[in-house]
């Protein structure tokens, strides 16, 4: 595996703007990713959006990743991955933050450590993307205007894209009762 070239100008900008904060950085095939602590996430995002030298006006996507038993060492189990674009420079930049669970991850009990600040106040379009991450991974977003599950129904007993959720066997259709007009 090649060593990453960390020459993206935004790395330096962020480092200079937040002295004393801990950042990690990585790069692969020209795509640069900044890894921030969950506590610093919102502050860094405000900087990336509003600073004229960074100017990331567009949030393209938010995704969750579960690194349970991943072959490479990762700073945490769950990652939330933000995909930002600066229109003026046609520049795509990725920001990532890692959180660790404190409860067993096979249910839907709210986990106090699986919480990340919402970026809905910066990019309104993050609302549904964060709802999807919450639905699929159970990562909650602080200050989200309307954090409900989006694809699965509210009572669904798991967050299905977690790695400890099997492809088959749980949540199959025949385990639910049929509701029709006669069931009143």
């Amino acid at each position: 595996m090649t060593t990453p070239t960390l020459d993206h100008p935004t790395f330096k900008l962020v480092k200079d703007a937040f002295p004393g904060k801990k950042f990690l950085a990585t790069e692969f095939r020209g795509q640069s990713t900044l890894i921030v602590e969950p506590a610093d996430l919102h502050e860094v995002m405000v900087f990336l959006k509003s600073d004229p030298r960074a100017d990331y006006c567009f949030l393209s996507d938010v995704s969750g990743v579960d690194y349970l038993n991943y072959p490479a060492e990762m700073p945490g189990r769950f990652a939330v991955h933000y995909n930002l674009i600066c229109f003026n420079r046609d520049d795509r930049f990725f920001v990532k933050t890692f959180v660790n669970p404190s409860l067993p991850t096979d249910g839907i009990v709210p986990d106090p450590t699986l919480v990340v600040d919402s970026v809905c106040d910066l990019w309104a379009g993050a609302e549904w993307m964060e709802r999807e991450v919450f639905d699929m991974f159970g990562i909650r977003f602080r200050n989200h205007p309307d954090l409900r599950r989006i694809l699965m129904w509210e009572e669904y007993p798991a967050h299905p894209l977690r790695k400890d959720y099997p492809l088959r066997g749980r949540g199959e259709r025949d385990q639910y009762k049929v509701v029709d007009r006669t069931s009143g």
Binding site: F28, G64, F94, A124, G125, P145, R148, M152
Partner: protein
């Protein structure tokens, strides 16, 4: 059990406190209409809970997930070639564009550069897919607004695109035509392919576009129903992560084909200094339903221009990158005819072998008919992706629905859904 038109207390409205919605004022006359999940004008399975004040929408709450079938979970259990059959079922208005985008992302991860012939063929087919999608979107909009003729005028030429897909891949609908580093097979006969495309573009599509424009653009009813409806400002389009024709109709000058070029949209695509294909990106400033349809109609014409530039200049040579290396599946004739081909085939197919992917993550995106379709792939070095996150343009454009419909008449809801071109299979995955 009999049910009344006026829903009683227990009705599931899920009224939420979203900041941008106007404060709920109870006039006592409000009633709730459940729109969908099965309704002809929702195109597929999606549900809106509309809170109506007479015929005016006071609040609109979209509920999605009815077609959720775990595409992203499946991606963790199917290899890089197999999942194309699933990706192709996302936006089924232009299935082959999903194939091309998925393998674009995989090739970004693997660092594969395609052969010029493969790039040209993929570009031509990607533009055909764009035409296919826009024709249905504009046609179905006519249908939703009560003009059945417009729908048929859009649907007829689409049939010819299916014939072309059938010819190149053997499947009309879900072609599953791309493979890692190449295509499923070369063209059966290049002259026939060229003739089919040219016939389609100039004998079928051009007159059909003219007919559709004639039906729509000077049609008083259509204009009254679409002009000034569902206006999206440029600032909102950017804040709500809108891409594609919906964003460009609001004045956002952004198209990945120009801004992050790939395939033949990039300069020097054949490694010998070939120029990028020439086309322009139509942009409207109005941001209403009509503007979205106008942008789409204009994009069809630009796609014709792109294909015309490429169709007579399809380079020769192989369609797979470095066919002797370990990334692409060998041709069937090699599998059956040579020991090396057979071994390579087994190396990729056996469940304990497969691709040696880098342990890394990469994002690849294409400008498809609805906007930026991207795949974020996390790889653990094995034959299957560790995690695939699709960035479906429908999902992200649809989050605008609440905002766009509020204050409009109930009949306009249908026009707005049509103009956003929501495909529920892509929405829910």
């Amino acid at each position: 059990m009999p049910y009344t038109l006026k829903p009683d207390q227990g009705f599931d409205t899920d009224v939420e406190q979203t900041g941008y919605l106007k404060q709920h004022v109870d006039t006592g006359d409000r009633w709730v209409l459940n729109f969908g999940p099965q309704h002809p004008a929702t195109h597929t399975t999606l549900r809106l809970v509309l809170e109506l004040d007479g015929e005016r929408v006071a609040r609109c709450t979209p509920h999605i997930g009815y077609l959720h079938s775990g595409f992203e979970k499946l991606a963790e259990h199917l290899d890089y070639n197999q999942w194309v059959t699933v990706a192709s079922r996302m936006n089924y208005l232009s299935p082959i564009a999903n194939d091309i985008c998925w393998h674009h992302a995989v090739e970004t991860l693997f660092g594969i550069d395609l052969t010029p012939r493969c790039k040209v063929l993929r570009t031509i087919i990607a533009e055909l897919a764009r035409i296919q999608d826009h024709l249905l979107c504009v046609g179905a909009a006519c249908l939703d607004l009560g003009a059945f003729t417009g729908f048929l005028y859009g649907f007829n030429p689409r049939e010819k695109i299916y014939d072309i897909c059938d010819y190149i891949s053997g499947q009309r609908y879900h072609s599953d035509w791309t493979r890692v580093g190449g295509l499923m097979q070369d063209l059966p006969d290049e002259e026939t392919f060229k003739r089919m495309i040219k016939n389609f573009l100039h004998a079928d599509l051009t007159p059909a576009i003219k007919d559709m424009e004639g039906l729509v653009l000077r049609n008083r009813i259509f204009l009254d129903r679409t002009r000034g409806i569902g206006i999206l400002s440029k600032e909102d389009a950017i804040a709500w992560s809108t891409t594609g024709p919906c964003a460009r109709a609001s004045g956002v000058r952004r198209d990945l084909r120009k801004d992050a070029p790939y395939l033949c949209y990039a300069d020097n695509w054949d490694g010998q200094g070939a120029e990028a294909v020439k086309f322009s990106v139509p942009v409207c400033e109005e941001g209403d339903v009509l503007a979205r349809f106008l942008v789409r109609l204009e994009e069809i014409k630009q796609s014709i221009k792109i294909i015309d530039q490429l169709i007579d200049n399809i380079p020769g040579g192989p369609i797979d990158t470095f066919a002797d290396a370990k990334m692409t599946k060998p041709r069937k004739t090699d599998v059956y005819g040579s020991i090396e081909g057979l071994i390579q085939h087994f190396q990729l197919i056996m469940s304990n072998r497969g691709w040696k992917a880098p342990i890394a993550e990469a994002y690849g995106a294409n400008e498809t008919a609805n906007g930026e379709l991207g795949y974020f792939i996390v790889s653990d070095g094995g034959a299957r992706a560790w995690r695939v996150k699709a960035r479906p343009p429908s999902f992200i454009n649809y989050s605008l629905m609440q905002k766009l419909t509020e204050g409009h008449m109930i009949a306009d809801v249908v026009a707005i859904i049509g103009s956003l071109n929501i495909v529920a299979a892509e929405l829910d995955r």
